[in-house]
Subunit: 175 residues, 2 copies
Amino acid sequence: MILTRLILGLLNLAPMTGYDLKKHFDSSVNHFWHADKAQIYRTLAQLVRDGLATVRTVPQENYPDRQEHHITEAGRRELGAWLASPLGPDRAREPFLARVFFAGDMERAEVLELLERRRAQAQAQLAEFEAMHADLGDAAVRDRRAYLMAATLDGGIRHVRAEIEWLDSTRENLP
Amino acid sequence: MILTRLILGLLNLAPMTGYDLKKHFDSSVNHFWHADKAQIYRTLAQLVRDGLATVRTVPQENYPDRQEHHITEAGRRELGAWLASPLGPDRAREPFLARVFFAGDMERAEVLELLERRRAQAQAQLAEFEAMHADLGDAAVRDRRAYLMAATLDGGIRHVRAEIEWLDSTRENLP
DNA sequence: CTGGCATAAGTGACAAATCGACTAGGAGAT
DNA sequence: ATCTCCTAGTCGATTTGTCACTTATGCCAG
């Protein structure tokens, strides 16, 4: 359901193949969602079945034909309806916090190591997001579309930074 | 898979029925995970099948018998193994950021309203978490188990606060 | 000139998670 | 009377997530 909308959103920016979409999910969209390519192809087929997208085969030399998916009018309506729909309940899903919650039986040193491992992971992610943010042009100040896209990256960065601060504070006061 | 571990973690704190577990998922654990009762009962049955938990029927007056689930030694080992296992890749999953990312076609006022709706939701969540945090005793300073549980709530609070700050900053600079 | 990697575009099958509706009954409060 | 709480589930459909397998060319290193 949600993947349907995300893919529609991407197709609304430009026609794409499953391969193109996968690249987006691994880069530009990766700070708020992840999708496997099997999921992408499956959803794409469903979109076409439901008339929200159409396929156009674009021949290429030396490479397999591109199966370009284009959003339809119905697809645009569906996307608009999603954007305007009520916000779903916000269900946190943080496997790392879960580990910490249940880590009461671990030795102090083990807990410290767990927090350290997570910190390294978060730090790497932060560096990645900041590099992406640095690559953004200055269109993001004036153009609303570019601004909103940049804002989501900023949101991702703030989340990671908050987590790192939390990890440090948790480590410092650990009894 | 992950639910298996979370339920094992809760059973490790005290024997519980499916109903008890549901209450925990709706309160103490709700800032990092959510589970539906159908999932809980299904997982409980699976734990018993796999020998990670046992059931004891505790008769009650005026109420249905409690089907108390107790963690077994194998269950404790499984829980320990999970706590020590490598961290999985950290896949962000933020449907709200997704909306913002694709909101480029919306009117400025609509975007503002979208951000406002989210802010109200986050604010309510923050109030809820802060109330829970205030109810925590002072054991959380000395006792490691209590400390770690309190720390996860603190983590939840920091996440929500970071989001509210992001929403405000995004609103202020919206072109 | 062969083997491996990248590009390109998928398919298939299964496991796990999610969601919503339905069933069943007594106790106590408004 | 009706509503909520406590207790315990079940059923079925849809959605997600994971992993392995396929086909074919271009290009580079050894």
